[in-house]
């Protein structure tokens, strides 16, 4: 079995079989991560460049670790200290990197569409590690992996994405992936943070968090990006956490169990209380471990395509 595309730009239009294959492959790698020696020679001799135009700690480390576990040579290219500051265009930067004979490029960029642009100027396999407010496919995959790990399936589940959907790259990847895998997806958040035309995707929009808790099997709670423009879209952190924050009291009103995911990093006391974050059977940290396995799976499947 192999993937139907040589790039992973997003989860839009990625067929079910491909997602299934990535999740199943990740299961194998997840097991390797529990071994005393966590390294396999699968991508020996392959060179992967982590091209990060936007600061990111956990996604970059996760990719880097995944590359190292697969024995690939990995190189980090971060904005500071690179030629970007000297006014070099993206195209020139990528062509220069390409000239050094690399095999795969993992790219993170503040502007949407950059991974697609890279496929046109480079021959490497391109993996999107987050582009603007567009997609973050490996996050979507690891969220699905974590759901499947916990609940044994994805199909038929009701999953609600909570928070700043409009400024999130995680939301769209989750929506596409989950829908493809047969989940029923809804979103919940202040109406200023829900894109106006999202319902055209067949997504239910809920503005009441208690209702969202009641009606769903899984909540994927997005990080409120306090440092970004998103801050202008709600009146105050206090009001946000009061009306949309997930805390113990809210969850206890609900009689059935609900799985709570968070892509991190957590704003404790804003979108999720410490009690919930820590008491949530360690799922949020498991997501991080699963992230490495998912990225290993994606790198492996793309890196070994003919």
């Amino acid at each position: 079995m192999s993937l139907s595309s040589r790039h992973l730009l997003g989860l839009k239009d990625v067929p079910k079989e491909d997602i299934q294959l990535i999740l199943d492959t990740a299961t194998t790698f997840r097991e390797i991560l529990e071994r005393p020696i966590k390294k396999v020679p699968t991508l020996q001799g392959k060179t992967v460049v982590n091209l990060f135009y936007e600061s990111s700690t956990r996604t970059r480390i996760s990719f880097e670790l995944a590359e190292k576990r697969l024995s690939a040579d990995s190189i980090n290219f971060a904005v500071s200290g690179s030629s970007v500051g000297k006014g070099e265009t993206l195209k020139d930067t990528v062509r220069n990197i390409e000239a050094m004979k690399v095999d795969m490029i993992v790219v993170r960029h503040a502007a949407a569409g950059v991974p697609l642009m890279l496929t046109k100027i480079s021959n490497s396999n391109i993996i999107n590690a987050g582009d603007g407010i567009h997609e973050h496919p490996t996050q979507g995959l690891l969220d699905m992996y974590s759901i499947r790990e916990r609940l044994g399936k994805i199909e038929g589940l009701k999953v609600c994405i909570v928070g700043d959907v409009a400024h999130s790259r995680v939301a769209l990847s989750n929506i596409y992936g989950l829908k493809t895998m047969g989940a029923k997806v809804s979103v919940c958040g202040p109406s200023t943070m829900i894109p106006k035309y999202l319902n055209e995707l067949g997504i239910d929009v809920i503005n009441n968090i208690d209702e969202a808790i009641q009606e769903n099997d899984v909540l994927n709670v997005l990080r409120i990006q306090l440092e970004r423009k998103a801050r202008e879209y709600f009146p105050s952190i206090r009001e946000y956490s009061k009306y949309f924050g997930i805390d113990k009291e809210r969850l206890e009103k609900n009689d059935k169990d609900i799985l709570i995911l968070h892509p991190g990093p957590i704003n404790r006391g804003v979108e999720i209380s410490s009690e919930v974050a820590d008491g949530n059977s360690q799922i949020i940290l498991q997501q991080v471990t699963n992230g490495v396995a998912i990225r290993m799976a994606v790198l492996y499947l793309l890196g070994t395509l003919n």
Binding site: T89, L90, A112, G113, I133, R169, L172, P195, Y197
Partner: protein
């Protein structure tokens, strides 16, 4: 020099002229005779057999960005004029967002001087406010004396209602329009139209209400001051509806549309091609349909390209960071005839009104006449010519077009103006 245009159809709705299959004798840049020509008249003349092509009053594009002064690497007055001639235009109005802006008589004079010997007439639009900053109205009287035909802060709307009101009142003294780029500043700054596509593409949205708000403001202000407002590059359904209603009330508002706004929708952005990034952005099918209706019922007076040259390196960028705008002078006639005339939206007469007569009327520029004794200012038009756009053949200095390789029907064969002719890719004195 003597010149004969043989077997042409003459169409000029401005003079109610519609003649089929005539010969036209041109001498010293003037119409010497029209109709059946004698052998003596043919003698020593350079004869162009035109096989039933049309001659019409020279096309006029009232919304062009020449990049001189400031960005001569992207377009100069001369290369812009070459591009206009190649596209079928004998006259253009150029927008004031140069560097420095066209807010002094000196800049107007510079542009006039650069275009003085060119076939294409260049009419500068003056900045409405000094430096297009929206703070102080520009020296409009002085600008008018230097040759401007309208005022605009194009690129942005005039910042405040109070400055807009003063600009309209002041410009009214000269009977010149204020041309508005309608966009509310606080809603601006996105990369594409707000729609399901902006959500799916993860691009920051510009809602069409950003345009509608300023169109509404400007219509109200035109009514209040009884002065002329011209809405540049109208793109949204609601804006078209508002202009329609305002015209019914007798408010002095006119409007233009750019070919890309009746040809494409924001579906075209799905490839993140920066050559479909413009402001106002491409909108939805419903907007395009209303624009077509507005062209048909006269709500939209004219077609203008919003020709906006940008260098290759500026456009080869991340979509969100790339500048707005595409070049349009050399595709406008083809797109307009393909989308409007051949799809039976507009008659040939209406096409000529919207591409030649109305823009001149809006700017108080005399409309060229095709009659004995008149100075020749015309476009030779082949409405049925099928051709493929090849940007490598453009005379513009820039190449930023989304229409390369597009199959179009209808094009200009050549233009004559100011005693010069442009045909088959070269200029000759006649």
């Amino acid at each position: 020099m003597k010149l004969v245009l043989k077997n042409v159809n003459i169409l000029n709705p401005y003079q109610n002229v519609d003649e089929k299959n005539v010969n036209v004798l041109i001498e010293d840049g003037k119409f010497k005779n029209i109709g059946k020509l004698t052998d003596a008249e043919f003698k020593d003349a350079k004869v162009y057999e035109l096989n039933g092509k049309y001659i019409v009053p020279g096309f006029f594009d009232m919304h062009v960005h020449l990049r001189e002064p400031g960005r001569e690497d992207e377009e100069t007055v001369v290369t812009g004029c070459n591009s206009a001639a190649n596209g079928g235009f004998t006259g253009i109005a150029c927008m004031p967002n140069t560097d420095p802006a066209i807010d002094s008589a000196e800049v107007v004079t510079l542009i006039k001087k650069q275009s003085a010997n060119h076939l294409v007439d260049v009419y500068p639009i003056g900045a409405a406010t000094v430096g297009r900053k929206g703070e102080v109205i520009s020296p409009m009287a002085e600008l008018k004396d230097a040759g401007v035909v309208g005022f605009s802060d194009d690129g942005i709307a005039i910042k405040t209602a109070s400055i807009l009101k003063r600009s309209l009142e002041y410009a009214k003294m000269f009977d010149l329009p204020i041309i508005e780029h309608c966009e509310d500043e606080s809603l601006a700054g996105g990369a594409m139209n707000e729609s399901i596509n902006s959500t799916l593409l993860g691009l920051p949205p510009i809602p069409s209400v950003a345009e509608d708000l300023i169109v509404m403001r400007d219509i109200l202000m035109a009514e209040c001051t009884d002065a002329k407002v011209h809405i540049a590059h109208i793109s949204s359904k609601k804006s078209v509806e508002m202009v329609r209603d305002a015209k019914k009330k007798g408010i002095k508002v006119t409007a233009e549309v750019a070919p890309h706004h009746f040809t494409l929708t924001d579906d075209a952005v799905k490839t993140y091609d920066t050559n479909v990034k413009m402001n106002p952005p491409l909108r939805t099918k419903a907007d395009v349909e209303e624009i077509i209706a507005g062209l048909k019922d006269g709500t939209i007076d004219c077609i203008a390209s919003d020709h906006a040259p940008h260098s290759i390196e500026e456009k080869e960028m991340e979509f969100e960071y790339a500048p707005n705008g595409i070049i349009g002078l050399e595709t406008q006639i083809g797109l307009a005839f393909t989308e409007l005339y051949h799809k039976k939206v507009l008659s040939l007469e209406s096409m000529i009104e919207k591409l030649s007569i109305n823009p001149r009327k809006i700017l108080n520029i005399p409309v060229p006449e095709i009659k004995k004794g008149a100075t020749v200012n015309l476009t030779i038009l082949d409405v049925d010519a099928v051709w493929t756009v090849d940007k490598k053949k453009f005379l513009s200095k820039s190449l930023n077009t989304p229409f390369d390789k597009r199959l179009l029907t209808g094009k200009s064969v050549g233009v004559i103006n100011k005693g010069m002719m442009f045909i088959d890719g070269s200029f000759t004195k006649i």
